[in-house]
Every structure is written in structure tokens, then in C-alpha cells.
């Protein structure tokens, strides 16, 4: 029992958003707005090769011809795409030789976030690639990973050092034409993470990246590419915190996972962008495209704990292309106050004997809206495909909403698909039982909700599970109906 919900009590005292602060690092930023010149500016700043600039310009053209989607069960003021600066980098762009060279203020920021690199290195064995606004500033454990042939670096470095891999795989799972935000990201992405696990290698540690929006009015357009070569394994962690702001900030990331034959990728996210204040003012718009492709016998497992952002629009998906491949999606989404989340997954079964599992737990509080939207698609040749989906929603107040929109499409008679969804109120009998044992109501709700989400939380690596539990509790503060 390294962690019990007792620790939550301490966090409860900190009822204001605990990561709400900004660091003052002079930055080198692009003028507001978006046009071809801005894209050339970004590309030049990053000293990119010609092919990448061409790719960006092509994507920009695609994006210009698209209209914003409006089908998700969310409403929000449309971002002004010309009112955003598409590039910001810490002024000091030289790479650090060692951790000691890093700007002290930046270190302090990380200390406040509770993820100081020294500690991470010493205690947890987690290699952290820290993204401060759009440029990667510190990378650790590189040497150790290098020994195994694992490449874990910023996306920009990958462009310079492994252009063939980037060229081959970027956009192969999420083409720019996929959707409005993917196209935008493809045109203007500034940085992100890149990971390559060679054949047969089992990555010995959790690879982790903490993203953080730091610059006012800076849209974040991360690009993540994870390639697990044949027979390899990697567990990748992504976590977000963001400073408190009044203006809405746009976050439109693209994550592409490629699991080659017999490979396995486990991708875990704790998402805690600033959700806006109690009155729904401010907060991050989080429009993310995450998708992975599985070759034969490969497996991709998405686990996410979504507590932040004013608006979330996110469907981590699996294309089960290879025979016997497996896709999993475990999700907890908590919304409070005026938050809106529309999240779920797509499981596209193409290969034979493909299997997918979807476990989604939505918790709505305050005046928030929380939707599950999922697609299970069994193609004609996907013989013996299996899907099991369980989507549960818990309602905390009479002013929130919980919605379930599963799409099930099946073209193969040997498929077996089971989908189940429930929506209910938090159990009053359960709360009374806890009260009778001397547990306060707030704690009782935290216990019950954490129990409700156990199946998903269990999928997270230990450190993440602890953080996730705290986040659930913090997110539900004052939500008692």
C-alpha cells in the first residue's frame, strides 16, 4: 500500500488549481496569425529540410480548404486561428550538455510541477523529455537508451538525425486530410516527441514526456511519433499540466503509433490542462488526434485519465490491420463546472482474429457535459473479430449531462461484438455506508469514484496511477450534488 486515498485529503486543501502559475522566460515568438509565410518562418526557425517545408505547405493548403467540425457534442467559441502565435521558443535555444546548465527558473517550474528531473532520475527511473512551450529543452537517459538502440528525442531532433524514419512514418497513420485539427497540426507543428524501439528490444523503462503550455496565446501543436519495430515493447507516458489563464488556448496535438509485427505499445496519458474557472472562464481547448496502427500480432493499448481542459475532443484509436492484433482503450474522463468532454475511441478491425476492448468511465459533475463517442468497425475480411465495450457514466449533480454515442458497424458474420453502457447516479447507499463508518462525504465520494474507475486506473503505471487518483479527487472538489 504505497498510496491510499488518505493522501487525497492533503490535496483537497489545495482547492485552487495547483499548477496555475507561469514562468517568465523571454521567448522568441512568431507574429500572430497563420499564412504561408508563417509556416516558412517556423520551418526556417527549425532549420528544416526542404521536404518537410513542402509537406507543411501541402498540409496548410489542405487545412485552408477544410471547415471546422461541428458534430461533436460540444459547444465552444470557435478559436480565432489568426489570433494565435504559431511559434514560441525559449530564447536560449542552445542545447544543454547537462542538467546543471538548465535555466534555474525553468528548474523551479518543474519543481513546482513535482517532476524535477533529478528526482525523476533518481527515484523513478523515468526518462523525461520536457517540452517547455514548443522546444525540447532537456532530455535524459539518452545514453542508456542509446545502448539499446532506442531513439527517444524531440521531434525536431528526429527530423535532423533520423529523417528517413520521420519521412516514412509521419502522416502514415494520421494523414493531414484526416480532420481539420490534424491538418492544422501537420502544417504548423513545432515540436514533440519521437520514439523508435528497434527490433526485439524491450524498452526497460517507461518513456515519459511532460508537456506544458507556457506562453500566453500560444497554440500548442505537438507531434508525437512512436514506432515499435518488430517484436519490441514500449510503455510511453504523457502527462499535461498548464498554467491558469483567462484566454482560451488551443491545443491540437497529433500522436501516431506504429506497432509493427509482434510489437506492443502501451500509451498512457494523464491530461490535466487548465479546465477554466468555476464560471467556465478560460481553459484549454484540447482537440487531439491520436491513432495507432497494429501489424500482425501487434498490440496497442491506450489508457487515459482526462480531467482537464475546458473542451476536450479526443478519440485515441487503433487500426487493427494485422491478423491477431489487439487494440485496447481504457479511459476515465471527469468533467466539472463548465467543462465539456467528447471522447472515446475507434477500433477498426481489418485483420483476422483481431480483438478490441473498450472500457470507458465518464464522471460528470457541476454543469459539465461528458460524452462517450466510439466506433467499432468490423470489416468484411476481419474474420473472428471480437469486441467488448463497457461504457459507464456517473452523474454527480442534476445540472450536468452524460451521453453515450457508440457506433457499431459490422460486415462480417463471424464477429462477436458486445457493447454495454450504463448511466446512473452515485450510490446514495454507498455514501451512507461510508458515512456510517466515520468517513466524510467528500472523502466518501472520492473513494467511490476511484473505485468506480479502478479497472482503468489499474492499467496505469504506478506513479501515474497515484497522480491520476489525486487528479480525480481534485477535479471533483465541491461537486457534491
Amino acid at each position: 500500500m504505497s498510496y491510499t486515498e488518505n493522501d487525497l485529503a492533503k490535496d483537497l486543501e489545495n482547492s485552487e488549481y495547483k499548477f496555475g502559475f507561469t514562468t517568465d522566460i523571454e521567448s522568441d515568438r512568431a507574429p500572430l496569425g497563420l499564412n504561408e509565410d508563417i509556416i516558412r518562418f517556423i520551418s526556417a526557425k527549425k532549420e528544416e529540410p526542404e521536404w518537410l517545408l513542402d509537406y507543411r505547405l501541402k498540409c496548410f493548403k489542405i487545412w485552408s480548404e477544410m471547415t471546422e467540425p461541428s458534430w461533436a457534442h460540444i459547444s465552444y467559441p470557435k478559436p480565432n486561428f489568426q489570433g494565435i502565435s504559431y511559434y514560441a521558443a525559449p530564447k536560449q535555444t542552445k542545447k544543454y550538455e547537462s542538467w546543471d546548465d538548465v535555466d534555474p527558473e525553468m528548474k523551479e517550474t518543474m519543481a513546482k510541477l513535482g517532476i524535477s528531473l533529478e528526482e525523476q532520475q533518481r527515484l523513478t527511473g523515468v526518462a523525461v523529455d520536457f517540452v517547455m512551450d514548443s522546444v525540447s529543452v532537456a532530455t535524459s537517459f539518452k545514453a542508456k537508451l542509446q545502448e539499446l538502440g532506442i531513439i527517444f528525442c524531440s521531434f525536431s531532433d528526429a527530423v535532423q538525425e533520423h529523417p528517413e524514419l520521420v519521412k516514412q512514418y509521419m502522416g502514415s497513420v494520421v494523414p493531414a486530410t484526416d480532420n481539420f485539427y490534424a491538418a492544422l497540426n501537420s502544417a504548423v507543428f513545432t515540436d514533440g516527441s519521437f520514439c523508435y524501439i528497434p527490433k526485439g528490444v524491450r524498452c526497460p523503462m517507461e518513456l515519459s514526456t511532460y508537456f506544458r503550455i507556457n506562453e500566453a496565446n500560444t497554440g500548442q501543436f505537438e507531434r508525437t511519433l512512436v514506432i515499435a519495430d518488430e517484436g519490441s515493447y514500449v510503455s510511453y507516458l504523457e502527462g499535461c499540466t498548464a498554467p491558469q489563464r483567462d484566454e482560451n488556448q488551443l491545443h491540437a496535438a497529433v500522436v501516431e503509433l506504429i506497432a509493427l509485427k509482434d510489437a506492443e505499445i502501451k500509451y498512457s496519458t494523464v491530461q490535466n490542462w487548465y479546465p477554466g474557472d468555476k464560471n467556465g472562464l478560460g481553459g484549454i481547448f484540447n482537440f487531439v488526434t491520436k491513432r495507432g496502427i497494429c501489424e500482425t500480432n501487434a498490440k496497442i493499448s491506450w489508457t487515459q485519465v482526462e480531467t482537464g481542459s475546458a473542451v476536450t475532443w479526443k478519440y485515441p484509436s487503433c487500426i487493427l490491420k494485422g491478423d491477431n492484433s489487439v487494440g485496447e482503450f481504457y479511459s476515465v474522463a471527469v468533467t466539472n463546472n463548465y467543462q465539456q468532454a467528447d471522447t472515446g475511441t475507434k477500433m477498426i478491425h481489418l485483420g483476422k482474429n483481431t480483438k478490441s476492448t473498450i472500457i470507458s468511465k465518464g464522471i460528470s459533475a457541476g454543469k459539465s457535459h461528458n460524452s462517450y463517442r466510439g466506433l467499432v468497425q468490423i470489416h468484411k475480411n476481419a474474420h473472428n473479430a471480437r469486441n467488448f465495450s463497457q461504457c459507464d457514466s456517473l452523474l454527480m449533480t442534476d445540472e450536468c449531462g452524460a451521453h453515450t454515442f457508440p457506433y457499431i458497424e459490422c460486415k462480417n458474420p463471424s464477429a462477436k461484438i458486445e457493447h454495454e453502457a450504463t448511466t446512473s447516479k452515485i450510490g446514495e447507499d454507498q455514501i451512507f455506508y461510508c458515512l456510517q463508518r466515520g468517513i466524510s462525504e467528500e472523502k466518501a465520494i472520492s473513494l467511490i469514484v476511484n473505485g468506480y474507475c479502478k479497472e482503468v486506473l489499474n492499467q496505469l503505471p504506478m506513479e501515474f496511477a497515484v497522480e491520476a487518483q489525486k487528479l480525480l479527487t481534485i477535479s471533483l472538489e465541491g461537486s457534491v450534488g
Binding site: 450536468c400 457499431i408 459490422c410
Partner: protein, 422 residues
């Protein structure tokens, strides 16, 4: 009544000449909608899985006058039967008498003033088929059950199509007043008819403490289209049940919307669809819980063979403050062939917290173990499978509390699907 001034709408190439029933302002509105509304495509969310281009491209025409037809088309001998042929009321095929407390009329028999008040509740904006129906309805039934009356005989509404490329727009109004009880059969059949399109709207009102049941049986020719829309409003303490059986037809779309607008209501929706060939059947249901303390149960099951496609889209709304709602929904499907398709979309949209709502959707094959077990007991593989399919669908059939219709379903299963039913 009014003579048509417009002979085309929504860009279709249909013959729309005739005389139509509903009040002129309403028809005018419908025609305006048709001017501005294209046929839905699969980009329209509500028609994502159903293409209606085939209907649009058919050379349909409205029949101006009733065609003569003889025969007995009722399922039951002691029912009250109202027969419509190609969109027109057939007086000589219909019952002449009915019990006290009941008022039944064909719309064409009613005073113009009486008809004028009908039909205003149907949403027209953006709804091509409802607008076509509103603009071009040629007849329909009006049933009024007075308060506290329990109508013993079943009322059979029989919609017959004959000939070829006929467009029938029927408009029904069924009213069960407070504390009344009534049971309907609504059956669509083809009598030497093919390539026809039946577009029918029923407005149903279930009064306080009333009980109203509809068994709907769709068995038109395998080349026919049908779009059938029911708008139900339920009042306090009422009980509404609808059982929809789709056993034939090329393209059948059912739009069932139930607004539960009074407390302590019970709502039951059951459906079965058994498809083969190129059939396409789409059941869209909406149960809209607007107030507290109600219960709804939905069970739809499908068996899909050949190149057929089934669509199920069931939505349950629980509006704000509609507390203590129990809503259950289940959709189960069996695909029997490599070319069969199912698209299932059960949805929950919940805005109140003290609720218990759930839905389930399953798609699969027959239980191979059970098939094996039956074969081990000496059944041929084919009959083992049929037995299993029969058992799968039987629990929906058992929801029907009406012998003649159950018999009819079993007959179709035998004749059209070659099922061996014991």
C-alpha cells in the same frame, strides 16, 4: 380539398397530380420546405447508414383515384378493419360498424373543417419525407377512443399497395382518451404490387391512464420502399407499447418518436427484423423522457442474411429534472451470411442525475456450442441453426399479446425464410 398546383418537389421526377387532404396552409409550408430541402444523403447524421437515392430516382406516381380490389385482408375475424389501397380508403373492404365509444373515419370521409385541425404537430423543416407526406397525403385513418372506453376488438389498419411505382402517402391520427384501452394492428402488404413507395405518418396520442398498443407488421413486396413515422405523445400514468416486425420490403425505414410527457408512464418498444436478399431495414427510435418517474424498455432483435443490411439507432433522452427514470434498451443481431451488414447505434443522452439507464448492443453468430449440441441430438445442421435463430427472435415475438399476428409472423417465417417452426 384542393387541387395540386405543384407537380414536382425536392427535385424528384415523380407524378404528383391528384387531390390532397391536409389543410392548405400546412401543405403550402410543406411545399416550401421541399423547395429548399434536398434529399438526405449519408452525410446527414440521421441517414448515415441509409441511402434513399433509390427512392428519389424511382418513377413514382400518386394515384388519383382508388383502384377496385376484392378479398379479405384482415388477420383476425373479429377485428375492426380499415383498408387503404394505394393511399386511398377502400370503403367496401372496411368494416361498417364498430362499438360504442369509438369513432373511426377515413380522413377522406371527414368534414374539411375537421381535417383542417389535423397534422400540425409534425416537424417539416429539413424533413423531406414528412413534408412529402404532408403535401401529398391522400388519405388516412382517424381513430378516437373516448375516455374510459375499453375497446374489445382489435383495430386493423391495412395498407395495401398494388400495381407498380405507386406512391402512397397516408396520414393516420390515433387518439386514446383518458382511461381508455385499445389495440391496433398496422399492417403493410403488397397485392400484386411492386416497386411501390408507402410513406406513412401516424400521430398517436395516449391520454392519462390510457393504454394503447400497436403491433406493426411490415411485409410489402421485396421491391417496395416504406418510410413509416410514428409520433407518440404519452400523458400521465399511461402505457404505450409498439411492436414492430419487419419481414419484407426492399428499403424500410421506421422513425419512432415517443415523447413521454407525463409522470408514471410505461413505454415498451420491441422490434424484430428478419432480412435477406438486398433488403435494407433501418429502425430509428427516440424515447424522450421529459418528466420524472417513468420507465421505458426497448428490445430490438435482428437476423440478417444474404446481402441485407440492418440499421438500428435507438436514442434515449432524459431531460433536465426528469428524475427517477429507468430506461433500458437492448439491440441484438445475428449475421447469417458473409455479405450481411449491421450498423447499430444505441445512444443515451442524459441530463438528470437520479436515473438508471442502460443500453446494450450485441452482434454475433449463433452459439456454435449449442448448434453442435443440437446436431449431436440428431438435428441436421440447417435445422439446428434455424432452431437457434428461431429461439433468438422468439422472445421478441412473445412480447406480442395477439394470437393472429403471431400466427402471421410464423407463416411468413416459414414461407419467405423457409424456417421450420414447431
Amino acid at each position: 380539398m384542393q387541387t395540386i398546383e405543384k407537380e414536382s418537389a425536392a427535385g424528384v421526377n415523380w407524378q404528383l397530380k391528384g387531390s390532397f387532404l391536409l389543410n392548405p396552409e400546412l401543405r403550402q409550408k410543406a411545399l416550401e420546405v421541399l423547395d429548399n430541402t434536398p434529399f438526405p444523403t449519408t452525410k446527414t447524421e440521421a441517414w448515415k447508414y441509409t441511402r434513399v437515392a433509390k427512392i428519389k430516382n424511382s418513377n413514382l406516381s400518386v394515384q388519383e383515384n382508388p383502384v377496385p380490389l376484392t378479398g379479405n385482408f384482415g388477420l383476425s375475424t373479429d377485428s375492426i378493419q380499415y383498408v387503404f389501397v394505394n393511399g386511398h380508403f377502400s370503403e367496401h373492404l372496411s368494416s361498417k360498424s364498430y362499438p360504442e365509444g369509438l369513432k373511426i373515419l377515413a380522413l377522406s370521409q371527414m368534414d374539411e373543417a375537421e381535417v383542417r385541425v389535423l397534422g400540425g404537430n409534425v416537424l417539416l423543416d429539413g424533413e423531406v419525407f414528412s413534408s412529402i407526406n404532408t403535401a401529398y397525403a391522400t388519405d388516412g385513418i382517424y381513430v378516437h377512443v373516448s375516455a374510459k372506453m375499453q375497446i374489445e376488438p382489435i383495430i386493423e389498419i391495412i395498407q395495401i399497395n398494388t400495381e407498380k411505382n405507386v406512391l402512397s402517402n397516408l396520414r393516420h391520427v390515433l387518439v386514446g382518451e383518458a382511461f381508455s384501452e385499445v389495440q391496433f394492428i398496422q399492417r403493410s402488404i403488397s397485392v400484386n404490387g411492386s416497386d411501390n413507395f408507402t410513406n406513412v405518418i401516424s400521430e398517436i396520442h395516449v391520454g392519462k391512464n390510457a393504454k394503447l398498443t400497436i403491433d406493426k407488421l411490415q411485409e410489402e413486396h421485396e421491391s417496395c420502399f416504406q418510410i413509416s413515422t410514428e409520433l407518440v405523445s404519452q400523458h400521465q400514468d399511461s402505457n404505450f407499447t409498439i411492436n414492430t416486425f419487419t419481414l419484407n420490403g426492399l428499403l424500410v425505414r421506421n422513425n419512432l418518436t415517443i415523447e413521454v410527457d407525463g409522470q408514471n408512464c410505461e413505454t415498451h418498444l420491441n422490434g424484430a427484423y428478419i432480412l435477406n436478399g438486398n433488403q435494407h431495414v433501418d429502425n430509428h427510435t427516440v424515447v424522450d423522457h421529459k418528466v420524472a418517474n417513468c420507465e421505458s424498455n426497448e428490445l430490438y432483435k435482428g437476423v440478417i442474411d444474404g446481402k441485407a443490411t440492418a440499421v438500428f439507432n435507438g436514442k434515449v433522452y432524459v431531460r433536465k429534472d426528469a428524475q427517477k427514470i429507468n430506461a433500458f434498451q437492448s439491440n441484438a443481431n445475428v449475421l447469417l451470411s458473409d455479405d450481411a451488414t449491421i450498423n447499430s447505434k444505441p445512444e443515451l443522452e442524459i441530463y438528470a442525475d437520479d436515473v438508471k439507464c442502460s443500453h446494450g448492443s450485441t452482434t454475433g453468430q449463433l452459439d456454435e456450442e449449442a448448434v453442435f449440441y443440437l446436431r449431436a441430438r440428431g438435428l441436421s445442421e440447417a435445422s439446428a441453426r434455424q432452431l437457434m435463430v428461431g429461439a433468438f427472435i422468439e422472445d421478441v415475438i412473445q412480447k406480442i399479446d395477439n394470437e393472429p399476428i403471431v400466427d402471421r409472423i410464423h407463416t411468413i417465417l416459414k414461407e419467405r425464410f423457409n424456417w421450420v417452426i414447431e
